[in-house]
């Protein structure tokens, strides 16, 4: 099993390090041909506008969409924005796959970024320490979407729809590998 990490910009090395600690092989995806031979894809945190522009310039949007239709794909933060069908603006290129409406920078600016212990459905072993950085929020989710975690005010921050996983926070920044293990199981299962 090999998992690709979209490496246009952002925290892709952190995802690779976590996967390596689980003994999983990774590869960096910067061009369409890098999608060959991988079994799953992580779209990391970073600046979603930057990642979108680079993906467009190098002809990656359609190959990424085609890959994600077939294979498990996980978006963290900017990656969640990428997977969403609706982000409230037309101008930004996205894959538009998951039946979620996402509000970018829903929490405000960096001074409002935070970390919190979060109950995540299906994860054994207690709460997940979640780091939110200029994070997006799922404003609404369709009937096919399984909500995995909410903030105390009810805001949706982790969702799964079939073989698509999206988290508004950054599991790659902490030592807790449970969500990476969950994604690895999704990849193995196909």
């Amino acid at each position: 099993m090999k998992i690709g990490v979209l490496a246009l910009q952002g925290a892709f090395i952190e995802h690779e390090k976590t996967l390596h600690s689980l003994g999983i092989e990774t590869t960096q995806v910067r061009l369409p041909e890098h999608l060959e031979g991988i079994d799953g894809l992580i779209i990391p945190g970073g600046e979603s506008t930057t990642i979108g522009k680079l993906a467009t310039s190098y002809g990656l949007i359609e190959p990424l969409r085609a890959f994600a239709r077939q294979h498990p794909t996980w978006g963290t933060c900017a990656g969640m924005i990428f997977l969403a069908q609706d982000i409230g603006i037309e101008a930004q290129p996205i894959l538009g796959l998951m039946d979620i409406k996402v509000n970018r920078n829903a929490f405000g600016r960096q001074v409002d970024s935070f970390e919190v212990d979060l109950e995540v459905k299906g994860l054994d072993g207690g709460p997940f320490h979640a780091v939110f950085i200029r994070a997006p929020l799922v404003e609404s989710a369709g009937p096919e979407v399984d909500v995995l975690a909410r903030l105390d005010d009810g805001g949706i921050v982790a969702v799964q729809q079939g073989h698509w996983l999206a988290t508004a926070f950054h599991p790659e920044l902490t030592e807790d590998t449970r969500l990476h293990q969950h994604f690895a199981r999704m990849v193995r299962g196909t």
Binding site: A7, L8, Q9, G10, A11, F12, I13, E14, R30, G45, G46, E47, T49, T50, K53, L54, S57, C77, A78, R104, N105, G108, R109, Q110, V111, D112, S113, F114, E115, V116, D117, L118, E119, K121, G122, L123, P127, V131, F132, I133, R134, D146, V147, L148, A149, R150, L151, D152, G154, Q160, H170, L173, T174, H182
Partner: protein, 308 residues
């Protein structure tokens, strides 16, 4: 994980905390592999965002103009910074003078995403840097070597950049500073652990950060290149030297075709190890900024020596 239905939230989550080291350093991690561009007005900020900048630095004068015009360089007008914050959705950084903690308080009140405690501005304190632990907003600081970087991290910096020699368009000092940092880190890793105490003293850096750097094999925070980057090749050079991303100050908006050059530098940072792509994006960019040769510059004109 596969069961249907909404998460019931029967168990409450923990208390959220803001302004932690994790959250401050985390934003810098999200900027990695990206280009942060100096902009002086909302129009330039839009050009930078459209080119794919991962953040912008809002300031009244780019370093090349500060050099040319002289005088005391201070924090920018809050009105101008807010104008830029309204124009773009990417993070906005702004500069405070070294040691000027009130300028930093003002920038935090404005809600900028990162403060650069910068030697490009005229220092306000010749002994002390800002105690950055007291702030919720994260700070980036310049450094020429490992000791300086770790002193800044000890004061609470959540991101480091090489100082280079800002406003020159000459990459030589940024290369020197990047190489010095990398060389010291390699030295640290091959050293006997009994020698760390004396090495920490030589560096003028706290022992615990020296030890942490040795264990990580890199700085404990994100480390960008800055100070003299003017071309896509310069940017890729800094990436190949092991930097996490690149600041471009005067290099873009002092050049002939800023939009095209900005996009080319963004692509060069992503594809820094792909010479075919670097060759393509380096074509027909128009005039680069004129530049000042650092080796022929009087010492008094160098700004990298500011900061302690």
């Amino acid at each position: 994980m596969s069961s249907n239905g909404q998460h019931g939230n029967d168990q409450p989550n923990g208390q959220p905390s803001k302004g932690t080291d994790q959250v401050k350093r985390g934003l810098a991690q999200m900027l990695k592999g990206g280009v942060i561009m100096d902009v002086v007005n909302p129009e330039q900020a839009k050009i930078a965002e459209d080119a794919g900048a991962c953040a912008v630095m809002a300031l009244e004068r780019v370093p090349a103009d500060i050099r040319a015009q002289g005088g005391v360089a201070r924090m920018s007008d809050p009105d101008m910074i807010e104008g830029i914050m309204k124009a773009v959705t990417i993070p906005v950084m702004a500069k405070a003078r070294i040691g000027h903690f009130v300028e930093a308080q003002i920038l935090q009140a404005l809600g900028v995403d990162y403060i650069d405690e910068s030697e490009v501005l005229t220092p306000a304190d010749e002994e002390n840097h800002i105690n950055k632990h007291k702030f919720v907003v994260p700070f980036v600081c310049g450094a020429r070597n490992l000791g300086e970087a770790l002193r800044r991290i000890n004061e609470g910096a959540a991101m480091i950049r090489t100082k280079g020699e800002a406003g020159t368009g000459d990459v030589v000092e940024a290369v020197r500073h990047a190489r010095m940092m990398m060389r010291d880190i390699r030295k640290l890793q091959t050293m006997d652990e009994d020698e760390l105490f004396t090495f920490a003293k030589e560096l003028g850096a706290p022992y615990h950060l020296v030890k942490e750097t040795r264990e990580l094999g890199r700085l404990p925070v994100v480390n960008f290149a800055a100070g003299g980057v003017a071309t896509p090749a310069d940017a890729a050079l800094m990436m190949q030297l092991g930097m996490d991303g690149v600041f471009v100050g005067s290099g873009i908006f002092k050049s002939g075709d800023p939009a095209k050059r900005a996009k080319a530098i963004v692509e060069a940072v992503t594809h820094y190890d792909n010479p075919d792509i670097l060759a393509r994006v380096s074509r027909n960019l128009g005039e680069a900024m004129v530049g000042i040769n650092v080796s022929s510059m009087p010492d008094a004109d160098k700004i990298a020596t500011r900061g302690w």
